[in-house]
Symmetry: C2
Subunit: 301 residues, 2 copies
């Protein structure tokens, strides 16, 4: 049994913000390699209008493929009821809904207030979805490039609303503003409000604090983390953002600490090669794959 659960979001959050398109065939090969490395949950795409984000146009096909991989939980993002219905049709095991805690970010990004987004998620929860998990992800929970600081009470209020009808709630540092002290404080506050419904942490490495924030969240009791291979992605509304926390380094950190992830680092590096070969001009980050594992390194038992 792994002690932390890592959800690879590269095929969604990474590719959605990458400059180069990855072919559907390459996505499938990459997802298979990620699953082979031990990832048990992968966010494979987003049910947004294909005209808006062409990189996600093949999400239904990718979901259908990913479902054929035994033991893999297939996640898709949906921004509204229509996207949710498409996710259900495609056969996603879990659907994640971003609700921005920043009013300005929400209105620019989806032309809805946070309250309207919560209502949209409520509609989805009321739509029949037998056996499908629903996650509410509070985005810009740690700050926003437009609004600056996001009041913690706003985050707690949205998380509490989402917890009423979602199976789990995650807090996301969409633009890389979080720091470890804030991570501890906010996860602690939200946990007091919604208890075990608080599950995931989604960090970006924009200011280099991704792993430190993950460590702080772990110390605060968080056991589920999103990350992206090669740190792909970022937020189109966050200039200079260098993407998600890097799967390879996150797995290395936990394994080196003796905290099992269930992921094989060498196989993870092999999956990285598939990513790099598929979109060779896309910037790919990560220290551990370049430096290699320490001499005599032993993964967590």
């Amino acid at each position: 049994m792994s002690q932390v659960h890592i959800c690879e979001v590269g095929p969604r959050d990474g590719l959605q913000n990458a400059k180069h398109l990855m072919s559907t065939a390459a996505k499938k090969a990459w997802i298979r390699a990620l699953a082979d490395a031990g990832l048990k949950e992968i966010e494979v795409g987003s049910f947004v209008p294909p005209k808006l984000i062409p990189a996600m146009a093949d999400t239904a096909e990718v979901v259908a493929f990913a479902r054929t991989i035994p033991g893999l939980k297939v996640v898709a993002l949906a921004p509204n009821l229509k996207g949710f219905q498409r996710a259900l049709e495609a056969g996603a095991h879990k659907v994640t809904f971003p609700v921005s805690a920043s009013r300005q970010h929400s209105e620019s990004n989806v032309r809805m207030t946070p309250e309207q987004m919560v209502e949209e998620v409520r509609k989805c929860a009321q739509f029949p979805h037998p056996g499908v998990e629903l996650e509410g992800a509070v985005s810009t929970a740690f700050g926003c490039t437009m609004q600056g600081a996001v009041p913690e009470d706003d985050v707690v209020r949205i998380a509490t609303a989402l917890a009423q009808f979602c199976d789990g709630v995650a807090l996301a540092d969409t633009v890389g503003y979080a720091n470890p002290a804030q991570v501890r404080r906010l996860f602690s506050k939200v946990r007091k409000a919604i208890g075990a419904k608080l599950e995931g942490a989604h960090f970006h490495d924009t200011r280099g604090l991704g792993l430190a924030n993950a460590l702080a969240a772990y110390e605060e009791g968080v056991r589920a983390f999103d990350s992206s291979m090669g740190g792909l992605g970022g937020c189109p509304f966050a200039p200079g953002a260098s993407g998600n926390v890097i799967t390879e380094d996150l797995v290395f950190m936990f394994e080196a600490m003796g905290i099992g992830t269930g992921i094989d680092l060498e196989k993870l590096f092999a999956a990285r090669k598939i990513l790099v070969e598929a979109i060779p001009e896309e910037p790919v980050y990560g220290h551990t794959p370049l430096a290699g594992l320490p001499k005599g390194f032993r993964a967590a038992a």
Copy 2:
């Protein structure tokens, strides 16, 4: 009063391992800019044989210059008594001695066993050095590229020996093998052995864990950190090593957490420009200078 003390080691640990030489004039301008940004301690060079490390040939001149900056503690590295005497002549306020806890690293690097190195430091401590601080830095304390794991008892033994005649002892992750759990455990063990003589933490970002390790050390009570602007440097014996923990991101992390460093981030970014202009072809790292400070960011009071 700052709550953590940061010693900039770029002019020594960074330039010593850089591929490009920095002129003495540029070193002086950079050191002045670093001091202007609020750095109160800078390791400006190394008294090693100039034939071995040409980048450090001007250390005496750089020390003499740095001494003219009011309030700045000027640090130099010395590997032996001869280097120590040169450091004293030049007027260094503090001299740091690396003693490798890895037998293989020590023998390759300085052709002495760790015990012989401890004896060399003892000789220096016995040499008159009025008003000059002596630091013993236990290098490869968290692992070694040659030897692999370094027994924690070896680190405790060397730290204990050094604490007898040094003013302070630091633990250095020379090759970027440390993880946060190990950092907490080893600092705790060494503190039990030598108490307040344990001062500094020196991390490398080889596998991306530099800030997470600094956070763990902070939580373990460490308040003095080495770092290098732009993450310059690395260890010639650590292939792929991407250098020291990055000053800009380290300062940002602490300030964002509300932990004062006494350093002005905007002025720090100005000092970075001097570095980049002086050796433009040298790889320079750091997320915060590229992404910029968060909107509405306030430094610690």
